[in-house]
Symmetry: C2
Subunit: 217 residues, 2 copies
DNA sequence: TTCATAATTTAGATAAGTCTAAAATTTTTA
DNA sequence: TAAAAATTTTAGACTTATCTAAATTATGAA
């Protein structure tokens, strides 16, 4: 069994190591809003438990058992987010903090039954893939809208930035998951993009927004 | 905001003070499986926060704000138990420990939406009343089967002892909530009771079981 | 390649919650 | 009602997770 703090460290390390290098102490400190010295303390503890590979000053990576725990937490987080949106009718910008608490409910059987209850969803409300009960999932093959060329189109399938303010902005612009968009104009000056959505409405979004809105082709 | 430990103390004090006297340090220690000295420490902290009335050596009672928190925790516990049984198909003897974790999920809005999602259930799977979002509920007016006289009948509506072993025993005997039972014999020697259930099957239960099985008339 | 800077670790401290052992208080009982 | 027993509190210590400040190690610019 892991403590709540340990689980949060493992989850952070997992997310940060997507760019598969070793993760640095400072990166973890930033992600967890804590100090580097606190991180070092915890890294020693996780290394003692064989959940991470750690050499002083060299950063860390997850061991297979650390990875298993991290994926388990992420599975719980995403399934609870799905539950909150699909069953309790929360908006996609409201569920993160609640799921952050719920992901630490320990029972595996509970989460497997929740998974079944919701008919084994594949993606959370932000388009992130949900690991199955064995921890398997396909890493999302999504690209930012900003990589689309003129007159090309795609289906909105995820968001890179999941802050409530960005999600609320997208909601207001009707740029939500499942919507089909076509690039009708790319402004050379600032790389902002004009998108056409299904009702032929045109929406002008910034380069930054286009970088954070993900599509499947 | 209260910590997890504080919430557990408040909940215990609430349950123990049903026999409405002041609750003693030792009672709390026994309920929480901890030491009297630890309890004293926490009582000081809760008193500082004005959640309990505490005078050294005199035991404690909840203040209105302490009571409000306690009832909130109990509401969450019972709603999650109901969810686990009704939506995820757990058995009534499996849900206590899970709900013990889930009752600490902080969001009020979450629990109110869960309540609505399940259509405002009045009782948890063990027959305990579920407080509404204002903390109101009628205290259950149930009596033990052992108080029934010969040839009288009632509907099983709750259990006093909620240990898994007792719940499993009742399940096996088909003595579950909602079943109508009639007392067909009372053995004078040991005060054990013979019950007749709907299919005319007769079931012989001990005095102790009869004391812990509750009926509405 | 050496020195300045950035990153990381160590040392020592703090807060929450718990413990044991001893002291204080209350309750029981003779 | 005074001594014995039980209960409760205090004192001091431990663990987890955190912090600040100082020391150490790595990095990168000249």
């Amino acid at each position: 069994m892991s403590t709540l703090a340990e689980e949060n460290y493992l989850k952070s390390i997992y997310h940060l190591s997507m760019g598969d290098e070793n993760v640095s102490t400072n990166q973890i400190a930033a992600a967890l809003n804590t100090k580097a010295s606190s991180v070092t303390d915890m890294l020693k503890k996780l290394a003692d438990k064989a959940l991470i590979n750690y050499t002083r000053y060299q950063g860390v990576s997850l061991t297979p058992s650390g990875q298993k725990i991290a994926v388990g937490i992420i599975r719980k987080h995403r399934l609870w987010e799905y539950f909150l949106v699909e069953k309790l009718n929360f908006k996609w910008d409201q569920v993160h903090d609640m799921a952050e608490e719920m992901e630490h409910i320990s029972s595996e059987e509970l989460i497997d039954r929740l998974d079944k209850f919701m008919d084994y969803p594949q993606h959370d409300p932000h388009g992130e893939p949900i690991p199955d009960c064995n921890g398997n999932f396909k890493s999302s093959e999504l690209k930012p809208v900003s990589t689309l060329e003129l007159n090309n189109s795609g289906v909105i399938s995820g968001v890179r930035d999941q802050t409530p303010s960005f999600l609320q902005y997208l909601e207001k612009q009707e740029l939500t998951i499942g919507k089909k968009v076509k690039v009708t104009e790319i402004i050379a000056f600032d790389h902002s993009v004009v998108l056409q959505i299904e009702n032929n409405k045109e929406i002008h979004i910034s380069r930054e927004a286009a970088n954070n809105l993900l599509i499947a082709l």
